[in-house]
Structures are given as C-alpha cells and as structure tokens.
C-alpha cells in the first residue's frame, strides 16, 4: 500500500486546557538539548502526564557549530491519555539556532509555537542553515506563534553574578529555555534543580548559574509580554494504573531484563560485544552492573564477541552477544555453531537503517529476514521482538528463558528507536516472577553429550569441570545416539529434523496470539511487530473511535509464530502489515498462512506517524467498500438474470 499521511487535525494551542502536546527541543549538538529534554521529561512524568520521548541525534560526534547536519533534537509527546508514540506533528518547537529551525519547521502544526533564540540568528548561522533571508523577519513564520527572544542576552544577564566567562555562561542557555517551557506547561522545577545540584556537585558555581538561568527563563514567561494566544497550558493528568513508576529507555529495560533473566534462570551471564551504533549503550549499561551475576567483555570484533559468548555457554554460563545489523551479519557463522552444538545463546540486534553502514543512528526493522534466514544450512532459531521501551524488559527475560530451556540461540530484535526512546514504566514486583532455574547435568552415570529432554528436545547442558562427564562437542554433525562425529546420511536427516522440531515445538510453550485492541475477527486487522506498536495502536484506536471495524494484532514471537496466529488472521477479511522495511513480515505471513496480507512500508529512518497508519486504514477500508459495492451490483445483476 502507498504511504500517505493524514493530518490528525489538531490545533492544540488554541485552548487553555489541551489533551496532549508534542514539544521538540532542537539545537546544536553542543546546546545540551538531550539534557534539557531529559529534565523536562522527568518533570512531566512527576506532573502525572503519560508520555513518550525520542532523542534524535546526528551521526557526527561534533559537527561544526550551526550546521544543519549537527542538529540534535529531543522530542516528547505528553498528554492525559495513553501515549505510545513520540508524536506525529509538533505543537511546540524550540529552535536554538537557524539550522534547528530549518530542519524541524516542516513538522510544526499550523498555529504551533516556535521559541527561538534570536541571538543565534547571526548572518553566519543563517548562511549555514541556507537561509537567504532571516526567517524571523521575512514573514515566512506568519502561520505560527513565534516567541523571538534573545536568549543569549537574557542568559548572560541572569548568570552574571557567577563570573563564569562568556562561553561557560552561554552554556546555561538550555536551562533558561527549559525554565520557559516549564512555565508554559506548569511543570515543577525542583527535581531539575536537585539534579543540577547533583550533576555539578564539584562545581557549585556552575550548578548555581544553571539554576539561576532556569529560574530566569521561568520568570520571563511570567513577566514578559507574550504573543497573543501564548499562555500557560494545562494538560490534565493521565489515568494510569496505580503503582510505582519510573522513566525507562529501551536500552536500560533490556539490560535490566537480561539481569532479571539471569536471576530467574539462576545462571551467570557473559555479555560479549563489540561497539556499534546504536547497540553500544547496552554494553555500557551492563558493564556498570557487575554486582549482579554478569560479566561483560569488549571483544576485538563482532565474531570474537559471539564466539566468546558461545565459549561461555559451553562452560556453563549463559553467553549473550549484541550488535546492530552489520555486526549480526558477521556473527552468523558463530550463531550456527551454537545451533549445531545446541548451546544457549542470546543475540540482541538493535536494528538500524541498512544496508551496509546505512543510517547508523536512524531506526529501521529491516533485519527480520536476516534473523529468520540469515544463516548457512538449515538453521532454525527462535526470534522474538520488543515493541516498546518497557517491553524490552519482559522480552529480554523471555529470551533468556527460551535459550536456556531449549538450549538454542535466540535472536532478540530491538531497534534504534526503542533503544533510545523512553516512557514511564510501572516497576514490576520482582517477587511475583516465575523462576526457570537452569539445570546443569550432574549425574555422570547417565551422561552422554547427546542426552536430551524428550519434551523440549533440548540437549543436556554439561559443564566442563564436572568429573566423569568429559566429552567433546563440535561443528561436525553429531550422532543423535552418541553425540560423536557422524557422517551418516540418515543421522543428518534425523538431526536436521530435530533442530527444526525443537524450535517449532516452542510454539506450544508461548502464549497464544492475542488481539491487543479490537475483536478477534472482522474486516481489518493491522498486524505489526517491533517498535511500530505505538503508532499502530494509536491509529487503530482513532479509527475505532470513528466507528471503523479494525483490530490491532502485535506479534512478539516471530519464530516460531504463536500456534493460533494463522487461524486468528484468517478470521479477518483483510490484513494490513505496517513495517519499517520493504515488506519482510508481510511476506512471512503470506507464505506461512496463504493469506493476502498487504504491506505498508516506510524506510525513512524515522518511526511511522499515527497519521500514516490511519490513512492506510482508511484506504484499505475504502478499497474493500469499493469491491463490496461492485460485488453487490454483480450479485443483484445475477439475481435479476436468474429471475
């Protein structure tokens, strides 16, 4: 299906009370927009809105100041109802320089609010952003509400008492701006003040200057003469389930999920990885957590990382490796060794735009084919995917469970969006988790390396160091009976079938596919996997509000599929599959279930917008209506002919 976008038609800032708002802080890489966003997020969570955030930073580490390719942005969508995406269009754009305005203006709704630092709109910066005329003066922003403030000047005045020097003083610009935006949405500044105090504990004058800037920005909102229609907006609190919450990114949730998995499996972990964007942050998070049953190893390359993980698994620890697409490709031979020797292994793929180096900092879900088929030989492997930042926690636990219970490599698919995006997360009660303790084999009397569980078909896990169970495993085909090398043709058939049956058997050990919104049958099911969850969910919700009979089905288990998935999908007249690739899941669904599923595909390095999926739902329904109209006419004509 062709990608189109529907304007959700919301002009949020016309009222004093608004249901939801999208704010984007954009500036130079050095302007501290990520920190600004993080503080605003925290204040918003504490205020009681539901929210979702998305940091969008450039691939360049330190781009030249003022360059369009150096713009770093942080987007937050918050509101009074469940928020599952970081928002389609912007209501408020904070642009710290002309480049930030130029690269983000197209996403601002008509009537949206622009806050600009006019002090940064110098001839030089305008030229860098390719503006022939100053947009603040040529009338090109007339469709918007614009607050043109010389923030640089305001900040220098506010922090003057701290004698920081010009450059250091200007670094407080982001906090001044944050203060103003906090005033705009009535957020509490105290948590930010506390965190600034902690962050700059060793440089109290810097902390004080930043706090002064924050307060000055807030005071500006209270006292300055503002453009008409700009005032404090009230966003009602969201109704959320009672409990204790925190803000969490996908990376943190995934790391903590792996730790939780190790506790539930009662097994040590070795996390072996090689740095790659956007997967490295998982290594960073786990490297800090060695007080748990986890060790981390930065290997010399991707291949060494997967191999060290496999070595650890052979030795009785659960090996985990992590990368993004290009790195996962390098690990393929190792993954197949784990499959052949039936050792547990978790591979985390934080997908990014491909092929090759592609778009390293942008999101995509184009590695599903590789996860399913990207190995030599007949090498089946369970594949599961995360759908939201918080979901990363549960899926990581599930990956550990499947790998250890079935003695198999497991591919866990995340992506660049989920890794960096954050949302409020209800902290689970860990005492309620069901344990799945690993059983290393200890009975030398019954031991042989080919011993397996009749139900799961999992091979025995025998640790070196255990007396009387000395044995050899390896990549050469192993005898089903003894585990020794076997070139026997019949045995290879048995072992190939066994590897397939073992992975397929997992379908009986995972939950049946549920419909997450809507009925279990009807005219249209929108079927997704991975990080498209949020946008699909909102689009289906809006369509249902309009009375459209549409359901949302989100697939966590991609290999094997849940046992009932085929039947469930066959209960819908049509199936629409939005994916951030050229149609990888849709092809699987068509092949496995022989259903005429339709793809909706986007590979722009950016997540789907709600409006894009909503447009596709409308298109699909309209197309079905048209066909039915034709059929009605034909039926009528047929009846007339008969009579």
């Amino acid at each position: 299906m062709k990608l189109a976008e529907e304007n959700l038609g919301e002009h949020h800032l016309d009222e004093k009370e608004v249901q939801d708002v999208v704010v984007r802080f954009a500036g130079d890489s050095g302007d501290g927009m990520q920190l600004t966003g993080a503080n605003f997020t925290e204040a918003t969570a504490l205020y009681g809105n539901d929210l979702s955030t998305f940091p969008d930073f450039p691939a360049e580490i330190r781009a030249p100041a003022g360059a369009t390719f150096g713009v770093s942005a942080f987007q937050i969508y918050f509101g009074s109802e469940d928020v599952t995406t970081s928002g389609d269009a912007l209501d408020v754009l904070v642009a710290m320089n002309p480049a930030a305005l130029a690269t983000n203006l197209h996403n601002l709704v008509d009537g949206g609010l622009i806050i600009v630092d006019s002090g940064a709109f110098s001839a030089k910066n305008l030229a860098k952003a390719k503006y022939a005329e100053n947009p603040l003066e040529d009338g090109s922003l007339d469709a918007y509400r614009v607050m043109t403030i010389d923030i640089s000047k305001q900040v220098l005045e506010a922090v003057e008492p701290y004698n920081l020097g010009h450059k250091a003083a200007l670094r407080c610009k982001n906090m001044w701006t944050l203060g103003l935006v906090m005033w705009l949405f009535d957020r509490d500044r105290n948590p930010t003040i506390a965190s600034l105090g902690a962050k700059f504990a060793k440089q109290p004058e810097i902390a004080e200057a930043n706090i002064a800037a924050l307060n000055a920005g807030h005071a500006y909102g209270e006292t300055a003469e503002l453009p008409s229609g700009v005032h404090v907006y009230r966003v009602p609190k969201a109704k959320v389930a009672p409990g204790t919450y925190r803000n969490i990114t996908g990376t943190t949730a995934l790391a903590w999920g792996l730790i939780a998995g190790s506790e539930l499996a009662e097994v040590d972990l070795l996390f072996a990885s090689y740095p790659i964007t956007p997967a490295s942050s998982l290594l960073h998070e786990l490297a800090k957590r060695k007080d748990f049953r986890i060790n981390t190893f930065q290997a010399e390359d991707e291949i060494a990382a997967v191999c060290a993980a496999i070595g650890a698994s052979f030795a009785g620890t659960l090996g985990i490796t992590s990368s993004a697409g290009p790195g996962i490709a390098l690990k393929a031979e190792g993954i197949a060794l784990a499959a052949a020797t039936e050792l547990p292994l978790v591979i985390v793929n934080t997908q990014r735009g491909g092929p090759s180096t592609g778009l390293p900092t942008k999101t995509e879900q184009s590695d599903l084919n590789m996860a399913m088929f990207g190995r030599h030989g007949d090498t089946p492997m369970p594949v599961i995917a995360t759908s939201t930042p918080g979901d990363c926690f549960d899926v990581a636990i599930e990956a550990v469970r499947l790998a250890t219970r079935y003695m198999t490599p497991v591919m866990l698919l995340s992506d660049g969006y989920l890794a960096n995006a954050a949302e409020p997360w209800q902290i689970p009660d860990t005492s309620q988790f069901e344990k799945f303790p690993v059983q290393h084999h200890h009975d030398a009397g019954t031991f042989k390396p080919s011993l397996r569980d009749n139900k799961t078909l999992a091979r025995v896990w025998a640790k070196p160091g255990t007396p009387g169970m000395e044995h050899r495993i390896g990549g050469i085909e192993r005898s089903f009976e003894t585990g020794d090398i076997s070139y026997d043709p019949a045995n290879h058939q048995i072992m190939t079938d066994l590897r397939r049956d073992k992975v397929q058997g997992i379908a009986a050990d995972i939950p049946e596919q549920e419909v997450c919104l809507g009925e279990t049958s009807g005219r249209l099911a929108v079927v997704g996997w991975g990080s498209t969850f949020g946008a699909i969910h909102q689009a289906v919700k809006r369509a249902r509000k309009e009375g459209v009979a549409v359901a949302h089905i989100h697939i966590r288990y991609l290999s094997p599929f849940p046992a009932n998935l085929g039947k469930l999908l066959s209960q819908f007249d049509s199936v629409l599959v939005p994916e951030m690739n050229t149609g990888q899941l849709v092809r699987l669904l068509r092949a496995d279930f022989l259903i005429p599923a339709e793809g909706l595909n986007k590979v722009a390095g950016q997540p789907f917008k709600i409006g894009e999926i909503l447009a596709a739902i409308h298109q699909q329904i309209a197309a079905m209506d048209a066909v039915e109209d034709v059929e009605d006419v034909e039926n009528k004509e047929d009846k007339e002919k008969v009579s």
Binding site: A308, G311, G319, G334, I427, G465, G468
Partner: protein
Amino acid sequence: MNKPLGKLTLKDYTSDQEVRWCPGCGDYAILKTVQKLMPELDVPRENLVFVSGIGCSSRFPYYMNTYGFHTIHGRAPAIATGVKLANPELDVWVITGDGDGFSIGGNHMLHVLRRNVNLQILLFNNEIYGLTKGQYSPTSQPGTRSPSSPEGSIDAPLSPCAVALGSGATFVSRSIDTEAKHLTAVIKRAHEHHGASFVEILQNCPIYNDGVFEQVKNKKTAADFRIELTHRQPMIFGKEGEKGIRLNRETLELEVIQSAGNEDQLLIHDETNKVQAQLLATMGGEHFPVAVGVLYREEKATFVDEAYSQLQKARGTTGSLDKLLRSGHTWKVSN
C-alpha cells in the same frame, strides 16, 4: 573412571574416537606427547578443556578424553577466552594450525596474546593447508607450488613466533612434532607459565608438504640447522658444538661463528630479553639454525585475573534487582 589423579595414565586421556589423520602425519606424535604429559600436570581431568578451530590439527580435541570443543575456522582463541572468562578454574588449551591461527584467525590470535589470557596455544605449523587439499598457507615458503599457486606462491610468509612476540605474547616457544622429549619439556614450561603461552610446533605434512622441515628434523642435518635454547647458556650448535651465535653489535644482526676460542663472544640465551627473542624467532634459512625451546617469557597480569578482581570489587555488595529497578527517580500513582 574415578581413579585418583596420580594414577591416571595416557590411556585415561585417550578418547574412544578413531583417529583420522593421514598415516605418517606429525599430528599423531603431538597427540601422543600431549596425552602422555597430561597425567604429569596435576590438573583434574575434568578441568581440562581443549578448544580448536578448523583444519587437520583442530580435530585434536576429539581424540582427547577431556572436555573439548571443535569450533569454527580461526575462532578458537575467542571461544577459549569465553570459556576462561566463564570459569577461570578451567585449564584451557587452544589447538590450531598455521592457516587457522594466522590466516583466518589472525585477529583473534593477536588479541588473545596481547590480553594475556591464561591458556596454552599449540600451533601446529606445517606450512600448508592440509584439510582443503594442499593450498599454500601464510607460513609457506615463497615459491611453494600448490593447487592454488601452480607457478609458486608469491606471498611473503610470516613467522608465527615473531608475530606472537609482536602481539605482546608473554610466553613464546618452538618445538618439533617428533621430538617427544623436547616437545614435552616445552609444553610443560608453557603450562607452568601464568598467561597466554604460545607454542609453535614444526609439524610435517607427509601428503602436501612432506619434508618441509627436513633440515631441522633429519638426524644428519639437525645438528647444523637446529639450536636448542637453554636459559643463561651460550648459544652453540653443530655435531660437536663447534658453532655458535654472536650478535654483531654494529649491524644488530646475528652471525654464526666458531665457538672454540670465541667463548666470550657467544650470545647467552636470556628468556626475558624480548629484542633477542625477536632475532631468534626469525632465525633460520640456509645459513642459520632454527631456534627451538623457550624464546621468551615475561610475568604479567593476566586478563582473566584482572577481570575477576574487578568482578570481586563490584560484588562486594550483591546487587538487588528490586533496588536497581527502583533506583533514580520514581513516582507513585495511587488510586
């Protein structure tokens, strides 16, 4: 089999698998030497782990009645590092060849050596690819005629010991497949060393590269083309010990001299001298003997020891998952 450690013999370290090397392969001799040595090492058999890559030599673990892992081409050092990180108590041996260890797996060899992971690496160097039927390898002499180099190979060969030294190896040694006594002594020293121990074993491939080490191995010529290094002893060789090695201090090159009358000029072997070890590693050819024995050793912190000391520090307090999930800013929502 629950015999006490001291009572184990070669047979206890021999697996029930049929050995499938070609008749006359040097690997047989190495296997026997290693199996024979095992009972002397004072390591519980269940703690021995042999890890290999791909190639003729890499079939080795299948024939050892210990824990063993025959993995993928070139990756044995990486897999062995994972084994050792998971359980530092294990006594890990990497079995590899010139192609496995220095061609497809060169990168891992470099890093396992520089990290100084506490394990033994036995590199069977036959200067040829055997299992794929005789192509030239990264240690083949220039001009080696093979199915993939019918006009003779044009690659410059590398010296495994020199590369190991360049990688920062803390134990570098060389021996010969059929010299059981010498090989046993060298492997024993390698095992005693705390760190990554590199043993290059000159190994004859009777099918594809027969006699490539003939000069060094043949009893008739060995005395003139092999020098056995002994720590703190002068470097002399020849049937009667009539020749010796001297360092030309102007050109910084080694020279062969008459030993008699030149005793004060003879180079004294010092296992801790890295510069000298580099000269010895590449010594050979028409005019020089090949050095065997321990070329170099140094005591240095090992990777896994360091990793575990960091772990122990971190685990001074056991992490609580519940506390971790509730760390940082949280907020309560009540009914």
